[in-house]
């Protein structure tokens, strides 16, 4: 198995990220001044002090932008530098260029603005009530929900609250831009979407796309945070480069990055679930209030994915879910691994746990009973096929013994008073494809050089997920070469045009299939040439371990010689591959269609232990039965599963993203106050069982997407903790409100008794959490 292709550079510290490249002598360093208030009309901007500061070369506002300042992936409603109005704290207003970073940042602090304050809304329900929405409310439905409630033996309803999440990619947002002689720009960006950056830069400069080159070697983490957030960063750098005629670089420091960039959307949701006497789900209704932030950004696309995943992996014959993007005065939220899916899944899972608690039965009983079968319909009008929900569940049961875990936990809880355990089983189902159909295309450019070495470029971005490793493996396999003969180049808009972003877990599928197309075209030409020379039928030939074989025996022709001869005989050693996912369609006017190429399934079991004295907890074990098709590189995929699991566990436990309700300020915008998982949060025991699967006809070499699905297991840890809390305090009204911080854990453990324990009547505290 090949290693992670970049790892050897990483461990030596020689991997280059944007600002690791040698600096041009006259490069300028940039800093932004952002809005100090969350909502208001700009009366005036005073940049005189900043302009006069040491080492400052130029100061820009929106008026200086040569092209169109407005940008946005769905609706162009935000300006690169604010025009007229600000809608969130930190919204860029002024751009400073100086000869060093410290001077630029110091000068930014000298800018003052006069802003007429407007009312600040941070609660999406308030925004919804006022009609402050991006786009229109959308509804996915099937069956007739209203007709069924009366027939339900059990109906539960409630609300579910879910906080956002900060990406904390280790490399903050950054870009370096070089002015081009034709008025365009060349930009080294840290982006998941080079074409989106190219469009944004071209628009800002007022030039056509062919005058903008975007190059991306790799990202120091993305997770969705560099899908759209990166556009404005790169565009600001390009604008400054154009206006000063010098190379520029904009690197956000961590606190600024956390304060001004979009994050995972917080949601507030209402649900209602109806069951038959046998425990069959008859009806589910929900309304999601997405906290979108100040501008549209990717919110409508994220919202759509919430709707697609609101049924998770359950058969729900009568289904109606509404969702709306609510405009508030926090950062414009954006893509984050899971892209709205986790928020949708969370609510149906809350509803099922609620029902199970009402009925006094184990939640997994209800979940197992209601898994989808082939032939069922997802509410978005796609019929279930190649369903692996049961395979995963049964594999989990077989490997991990779900009933045994439950029995052990009950016995432990009966014997222990101050320590309680809890478990939760969480099945997932994730549709793979961009729900925006045009994005489902991939491209690759493959060259073989005269020495037999192979290079490939694609429309995919290496951000740690192992894309390069997988693409190289695909090319190596297609050519019959060892992987060392392949080099994966930077992603560049001159070599690959019109790329979709590296997102939606689809990057390997799309670009890997494109690599396969390109490689096979060249291979076909090489083998035709070889067949001609050897005077044999082409279908008897193959390339194995860098040698030509005929009917399985060595044909005394090495790869390098074959390539050299082919070149001399003017055989084209380069090709371009294009791949578009077949058979997918979606019609938003009726909210129905064959939206996904396939689905990824899995089942996870979380076991936790709660210290009921201190309100702290430990995640003892996570066991996963996961559907991955035939992995291209199992170790890389395990790394994706482990990474996704812990990122999800962080979201549900210690990552406590807060906004001040009155000011709209993010009060956890530093590493000191926002805690991502460290090594001590890693479960003591992680068991990963990969489903032995006949494969997946759509993915390259029968592989399946792996980026986002493992993240979707996240709510499992919440429910396991909740169960342990209920084992200590069985009739507390707990509600559903993630994350489960140590604070919430302790307050819930003693819910109903805190006044008595503290010996007083509490003064109601203003809640600052949104």
């Amino acid at each position: 198995m090949s290693r992670h292709l970049d790892a050897e550079f990483h461990v030596r510290g020689t991997s280059r990220y944007v600002d690791d490249h040698p600096r041009p002598e006259n490069m300028l360093h940039l800093a932004v001044f952002g809005s100090p208030v969350a909502h208001g009309r700009i009366r005036s901007i005073d940049t005189r002090a900043a302009q006069a500061a040491d080492n400052v070369v130029a100061v820009f506002t929106a008026d200086d932008i040569p092209g169109d300042p407005w940008h946005g992936p769905v609706v162009q409603d935000e300006a690169l530098l604010a025009v007229g109005e600000v809608r969130y704290i930190g919204q860029p207003i002024v751009l400073i260029a100086a000869t060093d970073t410290a001077s630029a940042r110091r000068a930014a602090a000298l800018v003052t603005v006069d802003i007429e304050a407007r009312e600040i809304v941070t609660d999406p329900r308030v925004a919804h009530a006022r009609g402050d929405l991006f786009g229109v409310e959308r509804t996915f439905a099937q069956g007739d929900v209203d007709a069924v409630w009366a027939a339900c033996a059990t109906v539960v309803e409630g609300t579910a609250e879910l906080a956002g999440q900060e990406h904390v990619y280790m490399e903050t947002q950054r870009a370096r831009a070089y002015p081009r002689e034709d008025g365009g720009a060349q930009v080294m960006a840290s982006t998941q979407g080079p074409t989106m950056v190219q469009k944004c830069v071209a628009r800002a400069l007022g030039v056509a796309l062919h005058r903008v080159e975007i190059d991306v070697v790799r990202l120091g983490g993305g997770f969705g945070g560099k899908e759209d957030n990166a556009n404005s960063i790169a565009s600001l750098a390009a604008v400054a480069a154009r206006l000063t005629g010098r190379p520029t670089e904009l690197v956000l420091d961590r606190a600024t990055d956390m304060r001004i960039t979009g994050k995972r959307h917080p949601y507030s949701s209402d649900y209602r679930l109806g069951l038959s006497a046998d425990g069959d789900i008859l009806a589910f209704e929900a309304r999601h209030y997405q906290n979108s932030g100040g501008y549209t950004e990717l919110s409508p696309a994220v919202l759509e994915r919430t709707l697609f995943t609101s049924c998770n992996t359950y058969r729900i014959p009568n289904f109606r879910v509404h969702a709306a993007c609510c405009r508030t005065n926090i950062v414009p939220n954006t893509a984050f691994r899971g892209f709205g899916a986790a928020q949708g899944l969370w609510v149906i899972e809350c509803a099922i746990h609620h029902a199970a608690e009402r009925l006094g039965i184990a939640p997994e009983t209800l979940k197992r009973r209601n898994l989808v079968h082939d032939g069922d319909w997802f509410p978005y009008g796609q019929q279930v096929s190649h369903e692996h929900a049961h395979l995963c569940w049964e594999a989990a049961d077989m490997q991990f013994d779900l009933a045994g875990i439950r029995t052990d936990i009950e016995a432990f809880n009966a014997d222990n008073r101050l320590v309680k355990k809890g478990m939760a089983v969480l099945p997932i189902c994730h549709g793979v494809s961009f729900t925006k159909i045009p994005l489902n295309q991939g491209q690759a450019l493959v060259h073989i050089y005269q020495d037999g070495s192979v290079t490939l470029s694609s429309g995919g971005i290496e951000m740690g997920q192992g894309l390069s490793t997988k693409l190289a493996a695909i090319a190596a396999r297609a050519f019959g070469l060892p992987v060392e003969r392949i080099t994966v180049q930077s992603t560049n808009t001159l070599r690959t045009a019109n790329m979709g972003p590296s997102a939606a877990s689809a990057t390997t599928d799309l670009n890997g299939n494109a690599v396969l197309v390109a490689a096979q075209k060249i291979r076909d030409r090489l083998l035709a040439f070889a067949a001609d020379r050897l005077g044999v039928a082409v279908d008897t030939l193959d390339i194995v371990d860098a040698r030509v074989t005929q009917d399985g025996t060595d044909a005394a022709w090495a790869w390098d010689d074959l390539v050299a001869q082919a070149f001399l005989n003017r055989i084209n050693l380069s090709d371009h591959g294009f791949y578009a996912t077949p058979g997918i369609a979606f019609d938003p006017s009726v909210e129905k269609g064959q939206a996904f190429a396939y689905h990824v399934y899995g089942t996870a079991v979380f076991e936790v232990e709660v210290d009921c004295l201190r309100g702290t907890y430990r995640i003892e074990r996570v066991s996963v039965a996961h559907d991955m098709g035939r992995p291209l590189n199992e170790a890389v995929d395990i790394g994706q599963i482990e990474g996704g699991l812990l990122q999800g566990i962080g979201w549900m436990t210690c990552e406590d993203l807060r906004f001040d309700r009155e000011t709209g300020a993010c009060t956890t915008a530093t590493h000191a106050s926002y805690k991502v998982p460290g090594v001590y949060l890693v479960p003591d025991d992680i068991r990963i069982h990969l489903l032995e699967d006949p494969g997946n006809s759509i993915g390259p070499y029968s592989s399946k997407a792996v980026g986002e699905p493992p993240f979707l297991y996240a709510p499992g840890v919440y429910f396991a903790l909740r169960e342990a809390i209920r084992a200590f305090n069985s009739d507390a009204e707990l509600g559903f409100d993630a994350p489960m911080t140590p604070e919430k854990t302790l307050m819930q453990l003693y819910s109903g008794r805190i006044d008595a324990l503290l010996g007083d009547t509490p003064v109601p505290q203003a809640r600052t959490r949104t």
């Binding site: 461990v11 004295l613 790394g639 210690c654 106050s673 090594v679 302790l746 805190i754």
Partner: protein, 477 residues
Amino acid sequence: MSVGIEFLLNAHVEHAHAGPTLALLDYLRDRRRIVGIKEGCHEGDCGACAVLLGRPGADGVWVYRSVTACLVPLADVASCHVITIEGLNRADGAMTAIQRAIVDGYGSQCGYCTPGIVVSFTELALSAQRMPTRDDIRRALGGHLCRCTGYGGLLRAGDLIAEALGALSLPANRSALVAADLLPAWFDTIDTLREGLDPAPALVSEGVPLAGSTDIYTRGPAQAAAPERLRLLSREPVLHGIQDTGDGLRIGAMTTTRELMESPAMAAIVPTVASDLLPVAAQTIRNRSTLGGNIVTGAHNADLATIMLGLDATLEIVGSAGRRELALADFYRDATQVDLAADEIVAALHLRRDPGRRVNFERVSKRSHHDKAIVNTFMACRVVAGRIEYVRLAAAGIGARPQRLRNVEAWLEKRTIDQDTLGGALDRLGVDIAPVDDYQGSARYKRLLLRQLVLAHFLVLFGDAVDMEALTPEVAS
């Protein structure tokens, strides 16, 4: 203001001319363009900028510690040895066993955190006294944030490194580590390199006293926030070391948290000190943070200060007017200011040994490790025949400063341990405290948490004598 600062940087003598307060990270990355070292947060939390910082220990043997370069003032590395990832690479382009372990363990994805982790794993190899356990590996990784791997591959890499170390006779000298490919070959020449170094360079020696700089340098981009003139306390020998004074200990103010954790003398007083302090910051920080710094900063949730309050520590304060002693509890009398004149520094803490004393430390933070305490508390007591002879109960996170809960102490002292005594103590917990709502938690939570942690003291210290049923009534069942 620019000064000349000389130190060893990897395998050469570096002559820096820069502001003394410039963060080492900014000097290396921005000025010198040594870019293997990464900036992830510039607040000491992520570990991406970790370097090995070597300086002579008490016995003259050089000690190398992994520290975050963003929190180290350049002046403080004068006459020291700084090793970056570039210095850990083999000259022939091959990987060391540590680098290979990370590659083979699939412990690197986006790679941004990786160079810092190689540095900390190298410290693990340099300081291993025995074959590292998973706990040792976690400790080495504790100051590093990785957002990609979920740490699975890094733990596996740690296991591979532990195996390589297990094959050696430990502790291993540098030559053995070079031979095992855990260090690049030039480490064998370190002693020669050091000979070229000015042992006592001219340094700024007046200005703001700076200990481990792990607090002040976290306040935004350091170059802007740090004071222009520094008094580097690391250069003052009288502030270092833990000495037995006959009836107790004198702990130099510059004693690091790491040194406290590893001190047998300290363990004789607080047997669980190593595990108590494990959640406090992370090894990369504990290698720099000092006892004196924690005391003088006196943050509202300081951990070492709480422990020292509970141990009745006395401060040794030195200034131009001479030397004085002051009980730590009196040092914090004022919520807004500590009792320290501008020309004074805390030189040491004195602890009295008391063989009959039993102690317990409790703390809770949002992230279990490497996070500030929401509430912490330390209890020390002597119990004779079921009666509390004396008790000290200190806590932090519930007021402007770490404090003693004197009402509770007064109630408990000279009483027999029974339900009435303990219940009465819990009833008195709210008297002296004034927690506030902040991002760490609500005031109400902090009050409940303090109650629970004091209950935990009783459970740990008085064990069977505590009827938990009575003190933690069944909520429902």
